[in-house]
């Protein structure tokens, strides 16, 4: 690099750039948080959904599945599973695990009660109604 471009110039660009863009990021975050009530389906964030989210977390569902495209890529996307399969299928499926089919990917049985299954389905329904800018591209996730 040329000698006119000194280390202190580089340092100033670093500090100036870092501070400016972090502040811009904070401003955009502020705007996003303001805009979320119209998008994030919080009207349907019931106590049951909260319990369902906790079940989702404490059984590490994200360790195999994706939710809104984030997670592991070993098992199907569940952000739209409510539309794809419906509540009854989801509950029956979870209860029937593991399938034990030789060579197939296996999902453990988490021994959830009927009310816990309802909580989990409520969480998946709530998740499926978040405005995701039309993602995923089709029902298969």
């Amino acid at each position: 690099m040329s000698t006119r471009f000194t280390k202190s110039t580089a340092r100033n660009i670093f500090y100036g750039g870092a501070v400016f863009f972090f502040l811009l990021f904070v401003a955009l975050t502020f705007d996003t948080v303001q805009a979320l009530p119209k998008r994030d389906n919080r009207a349907n964030l019931t106590e049951q959904v909260v319990r369902g989210k906790k079940l989702w977390e404490t059984n590490n569902c994200i360790g195999c599945h994706t939710l809104l495209g984030e997670g592991a890529y070993f098992a199907p996307e569940l952000g739209n599973v409510y539309q794809r399969r419906g509540p009854d299928f989801i509950k029956a499926w979870i209860k029937a695990q593991p399938t034990g089919v030789p060579g197939r990917r296996q999902m453990p049985n988490f021994h959830l009660t009927d009310s816990q299954l309802d909580d989990l389905v409520a969480f998946l329904k709530y998740s499926s109604e978040i405005n995701t800018n039309h993602w995923p591209p089709n029902i298969e996730g």
Binding site: M1, A10, G17, L28, N60, G63, Y73
Partner: protein, 476 residues
Amino acid sequence: MTSSTTATLRPAAGQAANVQLKYRSQAVAKPYFMAAIGLFVGQIIFGLVMGLQYVIGDFLFPEIPFNVARMVHTNLLIVWLLFGFMGAGYYLIPEESERELHSPKLAMIAFWVFLVAGALTIVGYLAVPYATLARITGNDFLPTMGREFLEQPTITKAGIVVVALTFLYNLSMTVLKGRKTTISMVMMLGLWGLAIFFLFSFYNPHNLVLDKYFWWWVVHLWVEGVWELIMGAMLAFVLVKVTGVDREVVEKWLYVIIAMTLITGIIGTGHHYFWIGTPGYWQVFGSAFSALEPIPFFMMTMFAFNMVNKRRREHPNKAAVLWALGTGVMSFLGAGVWGFLHTLAPVNYLTHGTQITASHGHMAFYGAYAMVVITMISYAMPLLRGREANSNRSQVVEMWSFWLMTIAMVFITLFLTAAGILQVWMQRMGDHPLSFMATQDQLSFFYWLREAAGVVFFAGLLLYIVSFFVRGDARD
């Protein structure tokens, strides 16, 4: 491990001081580096288990379900990189500051606390169902578990904060009392940033969108933000040492690289805000800024090659120079090119959450962070063991391990990319999309190839460990 450390710390105890170390307290880095390598081995073993589960779905079921193997795989990665960063900090901060570490004793206590806490967490993952682990570790009091990469029990997270604070206190005191260089300032900025952004892991709102939004403040602002500062500082330190290029030149490069990192990377977080419920304008911000994120990584490559070309000395540690060049190239390919591949919103609409993401993750983490830690270990470990460089024979073995691991990782990435392209094609394009599982069945050929490349990677890693035990003749 401890006996040799204490012997180096206290030469009066009967053994001669390590003449290669400018400051005796740098020796605390050694156990950190050894732990890092050990955990790296564990990470790869579980990676191989998962790779097999991709094609033999019921492999090790129900003993080790996929989600458990994945937690162990990713958490071991994070922890061994943290051990590597800490070891690097303990090694380079005293040397940059031109004084002994504030408290070598505290550094050793933190080492054992971190190692035991990390080991217990992994044992917890493997020994009991995750829900049981959540219950017995008191997740109900402050639920933070069950989110990708942040699966650690809340008490483990608290332990990580405590260890990080003792580490930062120790290094900050050393820097404050000593010489302040650009390298040490950038390293400290990166490490403080790492600790501060980790605090967002304790924020777990019920609202899924907010949860995801701030989850990225840990994950993205780590790997595409402050970790790059740490990487830049480590690379700059090694390059100053092995090339003898004027520090002013190296430090100017460092500032320009990390300036570009944060200018592009902070708003670049937006490439994670396309489809999680956040406003549509993130598609513009995220695409534009993250499209520029390859720039700092390309500069990292140019930086490494430029400094080595302009070298004023022939350092006997050729292996360390190779790793330094390698991390420049592979971080650009993995983080820069493979990141750009799927970062524009219209592309990401189709690739989001597929094997394309996995391919990028593998080469980016290996190229940027695994390799920069190994660069540091490769440079510092011979010095910590009392010699300027390893014997020629040992270095040849180490360079073989470099090529085996690096080429294997290129193939892992290519096979996952192929799988990802086909997955997008079959599952998301066309009029008759296949279901997720039907698609996965079609991809098994590529998953087998990926597993084979993984075995080669593991062989390279074992060879890397062998290189530490190859003696050969002393060089001079």
